[in-house]
């Protein structure tokens, strides 16, 4: 044990002699862990929020009764089914605005709520017997308080913070309805208020209506199945209560939100892995370098009697300690990064998918364990080769401090072979595979192949340059570069990947912005979008608008929801007008498409359906309408960026005919530019419209742009971090080289080259390598951009963007890369610049 302890101490103390390598190892592993665990924390948080939302009110266990398009229906259906003997419980759900904050209101009936629906989220009501007998929990809500006016509104603590409210406060909704006093309770989805059905109906203006019925898991004996009863009662007890009929829906086990957001999270994960991989490259380099530098030390220890087994175990233990330390630092950074990014992620998830994700990061032990495991496993993977070499180290092998460099030449060749293998894999994936995962695998394989071949390319370039160079200093310059290459090739590989990804993502984001803004102009051609809210008001509003000269067109709209291929889908009913015909962004269409769709013979589908569900123009598809299945031809495809759901565009009258419960009191208004504000003001005042009832085109465009900026914030942030990691790699690579450099430049100094000239030559060399790497990164970046827009984006979001190139961005990146290289080599250059002659002379005394 003592022997082992001293072996370990000896190995650990060796790091003191090599602070640069220590820094490289720790920084590499810490940044790898940080990015990986940061992304994991974001994903964990989001997934937990989905799971909570899905399991809220027993959603994951309980079946429900709804109308086909999930519109509210008469609450007397609840009574009818209860009186028929079925254990069902009413829920009313909808969104309100509090200030500018959208909040979901869920109303429940405690008397009939199934046990599985109460779950953890309603623990605040009543508490349990223990609390009661202790009689200390005065804040526990009494059920009578919940049931009787004014009721209680249960919210997550963070929702209370977001609303700038305190416990017990009664807020007002944007429609000036008074909310029940708010009380916090754990386990409630963010941005959600759970309250009794009575105040909920009032807040949502759904008096006498319910959104769905929860079905208890156990039903009384001797009753026909509920699905059958729904059919049987349709013409009797349920007659007229839900015109579109009621249907039994299975529990949402595979919850829609998880499925909808899968691609978003895969995107994040892929970036996390990419960064992790770059970090591991650094660790691998550091460990390899240290091992070679320790050859003499280890040979001495072996000669002193330390067994190879003992030495290997000590080295492994050392690695474990360092990896744990680096992992801990990485986790701390990762947690901070995730915490900083989470609000943006939450906003994009809410905007894109309507998913509610808690804005504050929760700390989870599993996440911590996974992060540390990944750090240790990553370090082990990166160091496996070196540990093996330690195990096999011949006792009497002479310490050859520079022999590893010769071996690295072999490595370059071997890596080139691996590169070939990965290129082949990438090609295979490109030709044969499909799906988002394959898309990322393709990108990974391509990047790996490019990184592995990079040293070989640089080596060949340097050799060519050396062969064509004249003059001893220039020849030395290239030869020295080649000799130096192995030790900084890892950093250059990291730089290559970081730059390529940067170029790729930059092209995608830039291209998106260019396309999206144009598309928004087409899609939002009309000036005002109005929700009348009720049929009576719609008629009155129409009359008022028709009297306005400035209003050039009033185009009724309708919306309905349905399911297509087992996922939620939307139906958009439009009124034929040049506003659509002239500017609607159709990607493909059949001849006479507009006329056929307007007459109800055909429909348009959005790009998501076209690509994701592979529906062709001219194909017939069947939609499940409340009035029966509807087989209809697809006459065209329109681009629908940002929509995560499938959408069908149908003539408004056809929609209302087939979906009697469609939301219909909506208008698109064409208004003369100078009169937009006046008309908006007129409508607002006359009909007390809220922000969500009357939307101005300009505001909508601004909002859409914000959503997309937020969506790409995460990508952009990870992008920058990857570049930082590459910079750290370069810095640590050069630092670790610094001490080894002196013996190589000392003879040149002795030959008469000044220290300054040597330092500048050194700097020039690093900068040239960085510049060449950056230039090589451009074609790779273009390839990445293509993979992102043509494969990954299509798989992830269902829409394809045109590929744009931004040469000015590339130039900027090359300059940035060279600047990073300059910054990284600054300490080394400065050291050489200021190296004292005695140190340089000492080289000769020490070495020879």
């Amino acid at each position: 044990m003592t022997a082992f302890w001293w072996t370990l101490r000896t190995l650990l103390s060796d790091w003191r002699r090599r602070p640069a390598q220590a820094l490289m190892f720790l920084a590499g592993l810490a940044s790898a862990t940080a990015l990986f665990s940061g992304v994991q924390a974001l994903n964990f948080q989001a997934r937990q929020s989905y799971a909570e939302a899905a399991s809220q009110l027993g959603g994951a266990q309980l079946a429900s009764v709804r109308t086909p398009s999930e519109t509210p229906f008469d609450q007397r259906a609840f009574i009818a089914l209860r009186k028929a003997g079925y254990k069902v419980s009413p829920v009313v759900e909808g969104d309100i605005l509090i200030g500018r904050q959208p909040i979901t209101v869920i109303g429940i009936d405690l008397a009939t709520l199934p046990a599985a629906a109460a779950g953890d989220s309603l623990q605040a009501i009543g508490g349990n017997g223990r609390q009661l007998s202790a009689n200390t929990d005065l804040e526990t809500i009494q059920p009578a308080d919940f049931l009787l006016p004014p009721g209680v509104g249960l919210v997550a603590p963070e929702t209370l913070t977001k609303l700038s409210a305190n416990e017990g406060d009664r807020l007002r909704s944007s429609t000036d309805q008074l909310l029940p006093p708010l009380q916090t309770s754990a386990g409630i989805t963010p941005d959600t208020i759970i309250t009794d059905i009575a105040p909920a109906q009032m807040l949502l203006s759904l008096g006498g209506k319910i959104s769905r019925l929860l079905v208890d898991e156990t039903q009384a004996t001797g009753l026909p199945p509920l699905a059958k009863a729904l059919g049987d009662l349709e013409t009797t007890a349920l007659k007229g209560l839900a015109p579109a009929g009621l249907a039994l829906n299975k529990p949402t086990n595979t919850n829609d939100m998880s499925r909808l957001t899968d691609s978003f999270h895969l995107n994040l994960t892929a970036f996390g892995f990419l960064s992790f991989f770059v970090g591991l490259l650094i660790v691998h380099g550091a460990v390899g370098l240290v091992f070679e530098q320790r050859r003499t030390l280890m040979r001495t220890m072996r000669a002193c009697g330390v067994s190879s087994k003992s030495l290997t175990i000590a080295a492994a233990t050392e690695l474990l300690l360092l990896a744990t330390a680096a992992g801990a630092v990485g986790l701390a950074i990762g947690y901070t990064v995730a915490g900083a990014l989470l609000p943006d992620v939450a906003v994009s998830l809410r905007s894109l998918y309507g998913a509610k994700v808690a804005g504050a990061l929760a700390f989870r032990p599993t996440w911590l364990a996974l992060g540390l495991f990944i750090a240790v496993a990553g370090a082990a993977a990166a160091a496996a080769g070196s540990l093996y070499k330690t195990w096999k180290l011949p006792v009497l092998a002479p310490g050859k401090p520079t022999a590893w460099r010769a071996a690295e030449q072999q490595t370059i060749k071997r890596n080139a072979l691996f590169a070939g293998f990965f290129f082949a894999t990438a090609l295979g994936l490109l030709l044969a595979a499909g799906g988002l995962f394959a898309g990322f695998a393709l990108m990974g394989a391509s990047l790996l192949a490019a990184a592995l071949i990079l040293p070989a390319i640089l080596s060949v370039l340097l050799r060519l340059a050396e062969a064509n160079a004249s003059g001893p200093i220039v020849r030395w310059f290239f030869a020295d570069g080649r000799q130096q290459l192995p030790s900084i090739s890892l950093a250059l590989q990291a730089l290559l990947i970081a730059l390529a990804v940067n170029i790729g993502v930059g092209s995608m984001v830039g291209g998106f912005r260019a396309t999206f803004l144009g598309w928004l102009d087409q899609r939002l051609a009309a000036e005002l979008y109005v929700n009348a809210g009720a049929p009576g008001r719609a008629i009155e509003m129409r009359a008022l608008l028709e009297a306005q000269d400035a209003v050039t067109a009033i185009l009724p709209l309708a919306f309905a929801s349905t399911r297509f291929n087992d996922l939620p889908a939307e139906l958009y009913g439009f009124t034929d007008h040049e506003t659509y015909r002239d500017s609607w962004p159709l990607l493909a269409q059949n001849p006479g498409a507009w006329d056929r769709v307007t007459s109800g013979e055909a429909i348009f589908i959005n790009e998501q359906l076209f690509r994701g569900d592979d529906i062709k123009v001219g194909e017939r598809i069947t939609l499940e309408a409340p009035t029966g299945p509807w087989a209809v031809e697809v006459a065209g495809v329109y681009s629908d960026y940002g929509n995560t759901r499938a959408q069908f565009m149908v003539a408004v009258d056809t929609l209302k005919g087939r979906w009697p419960d469609a939301q219909g009191d909506l208008f698109i208004l064409r208004v003369e530019k100078e009169s937009v504000d006046r008309v908006a003001q007129l409508l607002t005042e006359r009909f007390q419209l809220t922000d969500s009832d009357l939307i101005n085109q300009t505001d909508l465009k601004a909002l859409s742009e914000t959503i997309f900026e937020k969506t790409f914030t995460v990508t952009a942030a990870l992008n920058v971090l990857t570049l930082v990691v590459a910079g750290v790699a370069l810095l640590t690579g050069l630092l670790s080289l610094a001490t080894a450099r002196l013996p190589q430049v000392a003879p040149l100094w002795a030959c008469g080259l000044t220290r300054r000239r040597l330092a500048l030559l050194d700097l020039l060399k690093t900068l040239s390598l960085a510049a060449v790497t950056s230039i090589l990164a451009i074609p790779l970046g273009v390839a990445v951009a293509w993979m992102l827009t043509a494969i990954i984006n299509v798989e992830a979001f269902g829409w394809r963007l045109p590929l744009h190139h931004f040469p000015d961005q590339w130039a900027g990146l090359i300059i940035l890369a060279v600047a990073i290289a300059a910054l990284s080599s600054a300490p080394v250059t400065a050291a050489l610049w200021r190296a004292s002659p005695t140190r340089l002379i000492k080289v000769f005394a020490d070495e020879r």
Binding site: Q75, R76, F78, I79, R82, K83, A84, G85, K87, D109, L110, A111, T112, L113, P114, A115, A116, A117, A118, G119, D120, L122, Q123, I125, G126, G127, N128, G129, R130, L132, S133, N135, Q142, P143, A144, L147, L148, P149, D196, I197, A198, Q201, M202, G207, G208, T218, Q219, A220, T221, G222, L223
Partner: protein, 379 residues
């Protein structure tokens, strides 16, 4: 934690604080004491000298904290096997004061101050199954109407089938593993308990309005384990309403309804107390329906197998003596495990009588600890 049951247990804990159900919940017992001490402020109070009229008094009485329609039946099948059936509807006012009416006038249908709870059970020698339902008043999910009489919650019904008055009725309920459909009839008039319907529950003045209809005869069918069994028997209806039933030191009660072979009926209860001797009271009902109140030493109720101190369980063998009527009987539970594992657990089941008189009856015991259930873990 089984969230909903606890929530509703607590909902009713508040609602039924004055009722005996508060005693059933072991966890809530401490709070139960506190609630019992509450004044009946905001609720109507029970005073002697009330005039009863039928069928009007079958209807709910607004403004009281708690009211129930309670039907227990002793059944026998063709092979002579004994069964018991229970059908109970409770109506509670959630808070004192405010609206006394069932339907809110606030414009929405959900804000009624009344809440209904119902229990149904079917007991045989070797099984005891039960179910529980809740409903808010004012919606039509549960309610009680007269002319014709109908007490209902979901598809459970106790409704008049006779032309006028409550002389014949149909009683229906179903749970997850049982159901019954019983027809009851009688020619007798309801019997006022206590002093002309004023039933004292403690010497400190807690009381209820209380009348019974113990003379129902019954035919019908029960369904147990998916098998329908025709049955005949006797049924007993209790009607009681109050705002403050028990004193603050009373811990639970033991209540008996007895159908004697000789045609007389006996109601007896014992309210256990931590401070003073148990309060014992009852009523002898002659075969012609004439009641004789039994108070003080006129009736003695003794448990023969009381549970050990602090142990779970309830006495299932009792001695009842009424010296003035030469009655000395032993009452034994048909099924010792007749626990109602509802939001507030209590014991309720059929009993057999032996001794000076034979017969059958029903026993209800509250304030004991239900032993852990073997089949499903009890919360």
């Amino acid at each position: 934690m089984n969230g909903k049951r606890t929530i509703l247990a607590l909902a009713l804990h508040v609602a039924f604080a004055a009722g005996f159900f508060a005693f059933g919940s072991v966890g809530a017992r401490a709070q139960g004491f506190a609630s019992l001490a509450q004044d009946a402020d905001g609720f109507k109070t029970v005073t002697p000298g009330r005039a009863f009229s039928f069928p009007a008094d079958h209807a709910p009485h607004d403004g009281y904290r708690i009211e129930w329609w309670y039907l227990t039946a002793n059944l026998t099948d063709a092979e002579g096997r004994a069964y018991g059936a229970q059908w109970t509807l409770f109506r509670a006012k959630l808070a004192g004061g405010g609206e006394d009416k069932e339907s809110s006038t606030a414009g929405d249908t959900w804000s009624s101050p009344y809440l209904f709870m119902a229990h149904a059970a079917l007991t045989s020698e070797d099984s005891h199954t039960h179910a529980e339902r809740f409903a808010r008043a004012g919606l039509g999910q549960a309610g009680v109407t007269t002319a014709p009489f109908s007490a209902y919650i979901d598809d459970w019904r106790f409704e008049q089938t006779s032309e006028s008055g409550l002389n014949a009725a149909r009683v229906v309920a179903r749970g997850d593993d049982f159901s019954y459909d019983l027809s009851i009839k009688t020619d007798a008039a309801p019997v006022l308990q206590g002093e002309a319907g004023y039933s004292l529950k403690a010497l400190s003045g807690q009381a209820s309005y209380y009348y019974s209809q113990p003379f129902f005869t019954l035919t019908g069918a029960i369904t147990l384990d998916g098998k329908e069994i025709p049955v005949t028997g006797n049924a007993w209806m209790d009607r009681e309403w109050s705002s403050q039933l028990l004193s603050k030191t009373q811990t639970g009660w033991d209540w008996f309804s007895l159908h004697l072979d000789t045609g007389e009926k006996v109601m007896a209860f014992r309210l256990r107390d931590t401070a003073v001797d148990a309060y014992v009271s009852g009523g002898w009902i002659n075969a012609d329906g004439a009641p004789e109140p039994l108070t003080g030493k006129a009736i003695e109720i003794t448990p023969l197998n009381p549970p050990r101190k602090n142990a779970a369980g309830a006495p299932t063998r009792w001695r009842i003596t009424i010296p003035s009527k030469d009655l000395s009987i032993e009452a034994t539970a048909l099924n010792q495990r007749s626990w109602m594992r509802t939001s507030f657990p209590y014991w309720e089941g059929p009993i057999k009588l032996s001794g000076s008189h034979g017969g059958v009856g029903y026993l209800e015991m509250t304030g004991y600890t239900a032993p852990a259930e073997k089949r499903r873990a009890q919360r």
